[in-house]
């Protein structure tokens, strides 16, 4: 029998073993020695997570990450900021907080990429040569495309625009909370282009409606959801569920309506519709602008020529995210020209695939990982409830917890995951640990 001392020692050893086990389990085959020059454009979710993974897989590689932004934004938190549930700084950290020490950071904007001569030009006039390029700059919110609208209007005269960043999300909450207090007509929009997290405009609508109901003012308000598309969500089974929820919550969907211009003085929004322009009066207007790739991508030879014309998403293989014409170029995140998922969840699934194919290519092998289009959206329907919607390229639901967490049910557990675990999982992903 163990005496007390032996027992304590054994317990401590078991604890240490448990602590070490994950490190052993995660270890890949040893790092590959290479002198490859890798440039990653963008230190957002995709670029940062990939950099942290590559430094563990490659020995001797020169990895350069180019991004002018000093701040890193946890974008999934913006909907919470715009509903007054989190402060603006909840989503803000420093870019350098997350980058490994053996990666060089160039804090300049990229102005041109030449995929033939394999160079990236930055705004300071420097030209950087690469052997392998990962394009992960995110996307551009084209606010100028909406006539009469500019970002300085956000927060006043009932105008919100939560995508534009933490300050604008906080100002969106100012405008939305005034709408909740005073009542009237709320018009919630989304763009005709591909977009970041197609669930976010829905979440904003649901949250403001829920907060209005809890404030006891719902009877003095009308909610309109204006979408350029014929359905409320890209995945048919989810669109149907949202349609039913809108019915229950008295939110009126209007289809084939694309926001064209805003007259903030008169509080009127004009929409392009199949039967000509249509004007709508609002007391609160949520603007989600058209979205496209950054200029340097549009001006390069990297985008699809015949798909998403004018939006500039990179022509990559949807399974490997490797460029179809320039095999030494990969895309990750929002800028990738794949049919689904400009979300952090997509990034989490895409990064290990790009890591695998890039490291394999450097090593002269073929990669084996496949990206199936997985993305997920904790679709918040009330403060305290969400649907954990997960799907793939084929519009199949792919629940992580089948039989336990129903994807189309409004659940507290899904809200808990969004509130407690999501940012933590995101941060762990940035560090290349999840």
């Amino acid at each position: 029998m163990l005496d007390r001392r032996q027992f304590l020692a054994a317990t401590a050893l078991a604890g240490m073993a448990a602590g070490l086990a994950p490190t052993v389990g995660m270890a890949q085959t040893g790092p590959i020695s290479t002198n490859a020059r890798i440039i990653i454009i963008g230190a957002g979710a995709a670029g940062t997570a990939l950099a942290n993974r590559l430094v563990r897989r490659l020995h001797g590689a020169s990895i350069t990450i180019i991004d002018p932004r000093a701040n890193h934004l946890y974008q999934p938190g913006l909907t919470l900021v715009a509903a007054g549930l989190k402060p603006a700084d909840y989503v803000v950290s420093e870019t350098t907080d997350w980058l490994p020490s053996d990666v060089s950071l160039i804090t300049e904007a990229v102005v041109a990429v030449d995929a033939v001569s394999r160079t990236v030009d930055t705004a300071d006039g420097q030209s950087h040569s690469y052997d392998w390029l990962v394009v992960a700059p995110g996307l551009v919110l084209d606010h100028d495309a909406i006539e009469g609208f500019s970002l300085d209007m956000v927060g006043q005269n009932g105008i919100g625009a939560l995508y534009a960043g933490p300050e604008y999300a906080a100002r969106t909450w100012q405008a939305a909370s005034q709408f909740i207090d005073e009542g009237g007509v709320g018009v919630f929009t989304r763009p005709a282009t591909e977009m970041k997290c197609a669930g976010a405009p829905l979440k904003h609508t649901f949250l403001i409606e829920d907060l209005a109901e809890k404030a006891g003012n719902r009877s003095r308000m009308n909610f309109v959801y204006a979408a350029p598309q014929g359905s409320l969500f890209g995945v048919p089974i989810v669109a149907e569920k949202v349609r039913m929820l809108f019915g229950q919550r008295d939110i009126a969907p209007v289809h084939n309506y694309t926001l064209k211009s805003v007259d903030a003085g008169r509080k009127r929004a004009t929409f392009t519709t199949p039967s000509g322009d249509a004007e709508m009066a609002y007391d609160y207007l949520h603007v989600v602008p058209p979205q496209r790739a950054p200029d340097f991508v549009l001006e390069s030879d990297l985008p699809w020529a015949d798909r998403w014309v004018g939006q500039g998403w990179l022509e990559v293989d949807p399974s490997t995210l490797q460029h179809r014409r320039y095999p030494n170029v990969f895309a990750v995140g929002d800028v990738a020209g794949v049919p689904k998922g400009k979300t952090a969840a997509s990034v989490k699934w895409q990064v290990p695939v790009v890591e695998d194919h890039l490291v394999a290519a450097i090593d002269g092998r073929d990669g084996t990982e496949v990206y199936n289009g997985y993305t997920s959206c904790p679709l918040i329907t009330r403060v305290g409830r969400a649907m954990l919607v997960e799907f793939d390229y084929q519009n199949n639901l792919v629940p992580s917890f089948p039989g336990v967490i129903a994807p189309l049910e409004e659940l507290w557990i899904s809200w808990l995951m969004k509130e407690v675990a999501l940012k933590a999982t995101y941060n762990a992903m940035l560090r290349g640990r999840a």
Binding site: R4, F7, L8, T11, G15, A18, G19, A21, P22, T23, G25, M26, L85, K348, W349, P352, Y374, R382, V383, G384, R385, S400, V404, I405, A406, E409, E410, L411, W412, I413, W415, L416, E419, V420, A421, K423, A424, T425, N427, A428, R431, R433, A434
Partner: protein, 119 residues
């Protein structure tokens, strides 16, 4: 979740609480558990007098745990939306109850009160 390994879980919990606080909490939980085992081994039996107070404290721990989780997540009982939510709620309550019971039993055994000092 793509790979729900122990390593991922540890990484996520480190991010939730911060690395220092998380491991401090783990250390406290391990210490209390070890102290509890120490008391059991030292006394060679469960003291039903101590266990009575521990049992009485269980509902307090359960309610505290549930209210704590609701408080930090802006949610309430009205948000229970399905069977899995009830299971999670009961799970949180159970963890709170057991944690509280072990803590109270151990504290009483180590520090002692006049009522239970005689064993």
């Amino acid at each position: 979740m793509k790979e729900l390994t122990l390593g991922t879980m540890v990484a996520v919990f480190e991010e939730i609480f911060g690395r220092g606080l998380f491991w401090a909490m783990v250390a406290i939980a391990v210490l209390v558990t070890l102290a509890y085992l120490f008391v059991l081994i030292r006394d060679r039996s469960v003291s039903w007098k101590k266990f009575l107070l521990a049992q009485l404290s269980m509902p307090v721990g359960a309610v505290f745990a549930v209210l704590f989780v609701q408080g930090v997540t802006d949610s309430s009982f009205a948000d229970i939306g399905g069977p899995v939510d009830v299971i999670i709620l009961l799970g949180i309550a159970l963890v709170g109850a057991i944690g509280m019971a072990i803590l109270v039993y151990t504290l009483e055994a180590l520090i002692g009160s006049r009522r239970t000092q005689t064993g």
